[in-house]
Subunit: 370 residues, 2 copies
């Protein structure tokens, strides 16, 4: 697996890149929808291809608990299991262990935790987490990490970071044992909102040596400017030639900010979660289509969008579906929102190609009211 | 709108026909999925076309209450509203008024009832029900009728029938006022499970004169043989050249029985409702894919089916989706089940063409355990 930078924008740090994989090419900056439980909620793999999705983020923790790794391995791996044959990144599930488990005990060698599904106790080590992701046949793997909540003391953030870095080292060692050329392991940069801790993370991870770097520990309840400041700070110290993946963001404006700072990859539940609750992304901002104002609105969800949903359905109809608790409403808006995010990223790539990113962003945000 | 019989099976009463409409041709015998609230639950119009659906049954009562007829009329009619451009039959909603309303008062001129959604009181006459269906721009309309529950006294069944027949007459008169050549009005045969009442219904409806005849009052909790006996009895006295529509059936074996008796059209919630609860129709019978036995089953839902779902997903994956409360599971099984029903009817038509219906049915049922 290789990441290459094709073109750098002349006026910003934005860059156009490509991940060359055995599953085909992924052009960056790219946005990956979240398929936590081996499905992007409400959407079929065909929908994802039709809406321009290049890759997905699945979750090792969730799949380990249900249906269990053996079942997926026997099925021929995660791609075959879920009928998705392009790139899959698997999140280690560190975040989920820390946020979902009713009980957890962090030890130096790993994490003991209770399943949020049935209360059974498990002990996962960084090595085991790597094995799980290899058994899933994931393409890009992420090590076990400890994602701190916000706010947190610097002392604890440092403690968690040091553990995360030791786990990163153990993960790298484990990953190397398999000698897999078609897969890549990324490092996860933690350190909460402390710049020196973030720098320590980058330096240490670079010393270990990872294929790319993922920025974790964001979107944990912090104000947006704090998040932006950390991303800006990191953008200065991250290795230039490696893939930079910001985990768990974001809204359109945030994605454009991060692209401008030179980040390449993003995942977020926003398009699908908002879609399931009746919120539609448009070139003019978000619309809550459940609202009464759309009762007789025969415009497409987003008149500037050319997706299947916008070409064939009206706001009035989608509102009716939501009001009638019809699943098709969730499905249509999830489809449109995923398409919308993919189109935004596609246009961003085009703008970088034309050294026009800053104008593109300005133009987009001028019309877009968040 | 015209119904023509293309071919009669030589060994049974089964017949191959075609409904010629401004929306295209519908080959019969045909099965229409139910789109009560202007959507076949979980499926898109594109899914319906891809799974061979020729037409849908929508519900005037539901759409009258929500989103309201004006909204659909303003949207350009029901076809445009829901992006379904082939045939639509609208049920009058008589059945729903009688089964869903918390309060109803049947009067000779119509029905006073409370909305099951918000408790508002409405009075619908047979004339108004026709106007509603014309405003919806439905293709095949059904008059207001009173559908009796089971069991019911003969006295009440007769009372309800006489009211239904008067309403049928009023509906026909109202329908004629519009002089619409592209639409058709069917009569609904009621009379519960009393043969003489059913005969009285057919005779009276024939005297009024309807484009086709729908058999109502079935699937209301009666034993299956009682239903079959009424269908067999009616098959002898219904006009030969008119479309015969059995409302609200049924399972595969029942559909084949009814086709053998010379019925042409069917609608039922079974493929979608079963699909949403994890039950898959296969050539060997129903499978409850939620069950633990399918945990590691890497076969397609139905190995003899060539639909999108069976070509790309396993029982194990679909079970995982249901166990994880993922909507995609409901969607995939609804799609497959609708496809399965359409294929069954398509094969039945082919068998009639080849004077082979009785063998086809025997062969199908030999493998199919209900």
């Amino acid at each position: 697996m290789k990441f290459e930078i094709i073109k750098e924008d002349k006026k910003t740090k934005a860059r156009l890149g490509v991940i060359k994989t055995q599953r085909g090419l992924v052009f960056t900056p790219a946005f990956f929808p979240v398929a936590t439980q081996a499905t992007v909620k409400t959407l079929s793999p065909l929908d994802l291809l039709n809406s321009g999705v290049q890759g997905l983020l699945c979750n090792a923790y969730h799949l380990f608990l249900r249906p269990g790794i053996k079942i997926i391995k026997e099925a021929g791996g995660l791609h075959k299991f879920m009928d998705w044959h392009r790139l899959i990144i698997t999140d280690s599930g560190g975040y989920q262990i820390f946020s979902l488990s009713p009980f957890k005990e962090i030890q130096d060698l790993g994490v003991k935790f209770q399943s949020h599904l049935d209360g059974t106790t498990h002990f996962l080590t960084p090595e085991k987490i790597i094995q799980i992701q290899i058994d899933l046949d994931s393409d890009i793997l992420l090590p076990l990490d400890e994602c701190c909540s916000f706010p947190i003391t610097k002392e604890y953030a440092n403690l968690a970071l040091e553990r995360t870095l030791r786990w990163a080292e153990a993960s790298k060692e484990e990953f190397l044992k398999y000698g897999l050329k078609d897969k890549a392991l990324m490092g996860i940069v933690q350190g909460s909102f402390f710049q020196d801790l973030r720098k320590k993370a980058v330096d240490y991870l670079e010393e270990i040596g990872f294929w790319g770097l993922a920025i974790g520990g964001l979107s944990v309840g912090e104000p947006q400017d704090l998040r932006y400041n950390i991303l800006r700070f990191l953008s200065e110290i991250l290795p230039k030639k490696k893939l930079r993946y910001v985990m768990g963001i974001g809204k359109p404006a945030e994605l454009l900010d991060a692209i401008e700072l030179g980040y390449d990859l993003f995942d977020c539940i926003i398009p699908t979660r908002f879609g399931r609750t009746g919120t539609c992304f448009t070139h003019k901002g978000k619309l809550v289509l459940r609202n009464a104002e759309f009762k007789r609105d025969t415009l497409p969800p987003d008149p500037e969008c050319d997706c299947y949903v916008c070409r064939n359905f009206t706001r009035s109809y989608i509102r009716h579906l939501f009001n009638s608790s019809e699943i098709l409403g969730m499905r249509l808006l999830s489809y449109h929102n995923v398409y919308f995010f993919n189109e935004l990223l596609r246009k961003a790539r085009q703008a970088i190609k034309e050294n026009n990113f800053i104008n593109f962003k300005k133009e987009f945000l001028k019309n877009y009211a968040d």
